[in-house]
């Protein structure tokens, strides 16, 4: 943008911002230098300037100039619509604000958050609290999810569910991003299924794309995410419980899945909830030299089958 145009737009901005009542085009033309001699030139430039201000998300109001002349339109910018209200912060609060912004380990989110901090309190901060925190490091899709939620737009993506081997296209009204048990989830309204669903972000295949469409189903104001997370924990109670003996100090990959562990001399006993054998069979079989499945029998048999098949394939005998 040429310097002259920048100057004219700044002047226009100040004129609109400092007027208590809406100003007509003629009034604006009088007050803002550089709108040219001819009416045509003015109309053209003014329309472009207004559009440019709106592109910068500056809320230019168009209103009737007064109650008696509602056919005469005027323009102004309401300061409280456009600018931040005053927020008074203590030093501690200011430090936590910076900390919250620097927690994001994702460039776009961190930049947006730091910009937000500067808008809440532009005073330069000298000392920061050095609490090492880290959010969303190396995670895909979080920026797109947060942007779509903020913009109120439907998203589309391809997804592989837990028990599926194929990729399915989903169209979701995004409501929340959930961080639970080390995984990030998109929680939203599945337009096809007509209900709330959760999607683990590391099972999203390819890009998560914000569509042009506004979301159809908004998150209810009383939406309670804990109902979902609690049902996950309850579904653990509905799960099958495996009792697996493991040699002391071995099979860490099984230990992290266990909800309890009884330490013994020769064997430790792990209690592991599961829904599908496929979650455990592979892990137990690959540690078969240090594990024994005590219960349930079906799991024991499945593991035996896998081990026997593997051994015979590799010709190691019985």
């Amino acid at each position: 943008m040429a310097r002259a145009r920048t100057e004219r737009m700044l002047n226009l901005l100040f004129v609109l911002l400092n007027s208590r009542t809406p100003l007509t085009r003629e009034q604006i033309r009088e007050r803002v230098p550089g709108y040219g001699e001819s009416n045509e030139a003015f109309e053209r430039m003014f329309e472009r300037d207004k559009a440019a201000l709106r592109d910068l998300a500056i809320p230019v109001e168009t209103k009737p100039v007064d109650l008696f002349h509602d056919d005469v339109l005027g323009y102004r910018i309401d300061r409280s619509d456009w600018l931040m209200p005053e927020i008074t912060l203590t030093t501690q609060e200011r430090a936590y604000l910076s900390l919250a912004a620097s927690a994001w380990q994702n460039a776009q989110l961190s930049t947006a958050a730091k910009q937000a901090v500067s808008s809440v309190d532009a005073r330069e901060q000298n000392s920061d609290i050095s609490v090492p925190v880290s959010l969303a490091k190396g995670r895909r899709h979080i920026t797109e999810i947060l942007a779509a939620i903020a913009n109120g737009k439907t998203v589309a993506f391809e997804y592989v569910g837990l028990n599926q081997s194929e990729v399915v296209k989903r169209t979701i009204d995004p409501w929340r991003a959930l961080l639970h048990s080390g995984h990030w989830y998109l929680v939203g309204f599945d337009q096809e299924k007509g209900e709330v669903r959760t999607f683990r972000t590391d099972r999203i295949v390819g890009d998560l794309v914000e569509t042009k469409h506004d979301i159809l189903e908004s998150m209810p104001s009383d939406f309670d995410l804990s109902a979902i997370t609690e049902s996950w924990e309850h579904s653990e109670k509905d799960a099958t419980i495996a009792s697996v003996l493991v040699r002391p100090g071995r099979a860490a990959s099984l230990r992290v899945l266990a909800t309890s562990c009884e330490i013994g001399d020769e064997w430790d006993m792990l209690t592991i909830p599961y829904h599908h054998e496929s979650q455990l069979v592979g892990l137990i079989a690959s540690a078969c030299d240090v594990t024994r499945v005590k219960a349930p029998q079906s799991l024991h048999d499945s593991v035996s089958r896998v081990v026997t098949t593997t051994l015979s394939v590799h010709n190691y005998g019985k």
């Binding site: 912004a101 994001w104 939620i149």
Partner: protein, 184 residues
């Protein structure tokens, strides 16, 4: 320049909030050259709601070590946060709130309230369910850190298939996503 108008809109409120800042501080904050910063300030002082006397933005920048705004002509507050910006900030704060071991959760909660009062439509787009830590463990760790004691821990490595007993000198705890880690 295409982005100069945006820069100018950010610059004036920043100068107001940091009244008395030096030209080099301006340049540093906005990641521009001092020359560019000077040009921008020069542009501001020839604009305003009226070209008549006293109708222009008033900035005293004769002394480049100390720039004073005496009249910002109503552009004296930063622009309102966009929904996206607000959500990243509130998300970060909500995350901090889940770790009372690391921050004062009450202050953070109060801070979230203050921001939401000023921006009623803003909300955190993330929910964090922090990984549960047995309170007996976090207590021992906290005491060890404050008393600079060594502690013996049984640790299950996920990548190495072993359960090891180690004696460590815990230095501090930090969080990554929903878990808290111990550095020693």
């Amino acid at each position: 320049m295409a982005n100069d108008l945006e820069l100018l809109i950010r610059l004036l409120p920043w100068l107001v909030a940091n009244n008395g800042a030096s030209l080099s501080e301006v340049a540093k904050h906005f990641e521009i050259s001092e020359k560019h910063a000077l040009e921008l300030i020069g542009q501001l002082v020839v604009t305003g709601p009226s070209q008549a006397g006293g109708g222009l933005v008033d900035i005293d920048f004769e002394d480049s070590d100390s720039i004073f705004v005496s009249d910002a002509k109503a552009l004296d507050r930063p622009v309102k946060l966009s929904e996206f910006e607000a959500s990243t900030l509130l998300g970060g704060l909500h995350y901090l709130e889940q770790f009372p071991n690391l921050v004062d959760s009450e202050i953070v909660a109060g801070l979230i309230r203050k921001i939401q009062q000023a921006l009623p439509n803003a909300d955190s787009p993330i929910n964090v369910v922090a990984a549960p830590i047995l309170s007996s463990i976090s207590q021992v760790v906290a005491e060890a850190i404050s008393s600079k004691l060594s502690i013996e821990i049984k640790y299950a490595g996920v990548t190495k298939d072993d359960l090891s007993v180690r004696v460590i000198d815990p230095v501090k705890t930090y969080s990554q996503d929903d878990s808290i880690y111990l550095k020693s």
